[in-house]
Amino acid sequence: MSGLAADLLADLPEADVRSILVLFGTDLDRLLPEVARAADAAEAEPFRRACHAIAGAAGAVGAAALEAASRHGMAIAKAEATRGALATAALAVAEAASTIRGEVASLLARLPQT
């Protein structure tokens, strides 16, 4: 099974999946500004840590595109770490996150409220 939260839905009650997806949104709310800030300040290590956290959370809920964009950001932070490269990577992460937020909202609407 693939796709957003597919593995979670196979393993867990829907109510638990709902609370996990809500927490995922909270994680993104906290981490995306940190990615943007670190890129703007050209701070490679904070940028890498924030991307690492997003990649982990995205991987856990099956948000493959966001996970890939975040891992690319981690690689950029380790390699070039120029302000421009970080800004480009941050933009890719933000775009992927925006897409996944829509998918999360759509899925949450279909999951029963507890």
Partner: protein, 498 residues
Amino acid sequence: MAPAPVPAPNAPTPSAPASRARVLIVEDSATQAEIARVHVLQLGHAPEVVGSVAAARDWLRDARPDAVLLDIELPDGSGLDVLRALRAEGDDAAVIVVTANASINAAVEAMRAGATDFLVKPYARARLAVTLANALEKRALLAQLSRAQAQLGRDRFYGFIGASERMQAVYRTIENVAQSRASVFITGESGTGKELAAEAIHRASARSSRRFVALNCGAIPRDLLESEVFGHVKGAFTGAVADREGAAKLADGGTLFLDEIGEMPFAMQVKLLRFVQTGTFNPVGTAREERVDVRFVCATNRDPMLEVKAGRFREDLYYRLYVVPLELPPLRDRGEDVLLVARHFLAQFSREEKRNFRDFDAEAEAVLRAYAWPGNVRQLQNVIRNVVVLNDATTVTAAMLPPPLCSPPSAAPQSAPASAAGTGIESRDASQLPAEAAAGAAGAAAAPDLEEILPLALMEKRLILAALSRTGQDVQRAAVLLDISPSTIYRKLAQWKA
């Protein structure tokens, strides 16, 4: 990405593991921590979540998990630091390192740090279930192995020191009998640790939260013994100015240890028999019957069956109490234990007396091995205390050992009489003691005449010598009677000898 279709409601019921494990999840991402928490809960375990190295260390200060799901990259450091700290403290929790980095190097580093297993993120519940179950099983097996190895060759047991086969048998008997309510009859020469064995039985039993009450039947005047055991009410006899609970009542729910039970007067044995049979007794001076729940442990340094045959011990009481016999071996039959015990006392007394002793030289070891130790561990204890108080060096030499140990080994007694009390200083020859003490050893020393007022130093000397005489030259017991340290007695004896 198109949203995945919602599968048919899948409501997995929590698995039923053999036992509910306490699982600490160390994960800074709220999303991943929640996924792990729900999985662990669904697997029938009890999850706890922390999000940093510092929080993990704080949590581990107060609690012990069965398993840890440990993220490596945490905001304030590496999860491997938590792992190393756990292992450094000897914690055997099953630690599963969880990371997105699936490289061999990461796995090797985690395993070197003491991880039980390694899990790559993201993981499905089935993978977590298998990994966690295996890790917990491995931990349980290692603990079982460790317990079995400890039982096979342990050298410490509830205050006992000894790794010999004879002592392993003693430890096993104590463990086996502890959980039962059966009476235990401990036999063994003086100084072999009969009271220690009784306490060990109590501490290893389900009664350990209640009192262990020890009563030395030989040390209590005959006419007071009944009151000591059963208590009395105010006015029961001259001097009974208030109600007083006896050992039987104090030991309710716990263990009553009757030491030197062979010394108990025959008339008192009748009353004890009734108590053992019914669990009830009457405090002295009242017809009011009291009922208690007491486990009996008795001890004697005599052969109890011989005492029965000689008519000094009631046969019916003997059979009531002699349910599980426990024989403590004399020190001379415990092989290398003599050195193990000697080293223990050397370290303890060196610490107490602020000396630098570390070990014995080969000659001193040979002397300790060859000696027959008629006074058993208590005598060894006194000898080592004597050495530590009167000498200071890093190594104990044979010359430091008091007579008769410092004589050539061939001159040392090779066997001890069964009745030898052997309590330490009695093993010295009379020349080691001042004239008064030597006289006391022969049973001639008397307590100082309290009508006669002498200089304090002389009164002190007389009192110490009288206490030694009263206790059969047992320095430990004399020190207890005088409420002073045994080393004080040794120092005084050395001063007087000089």
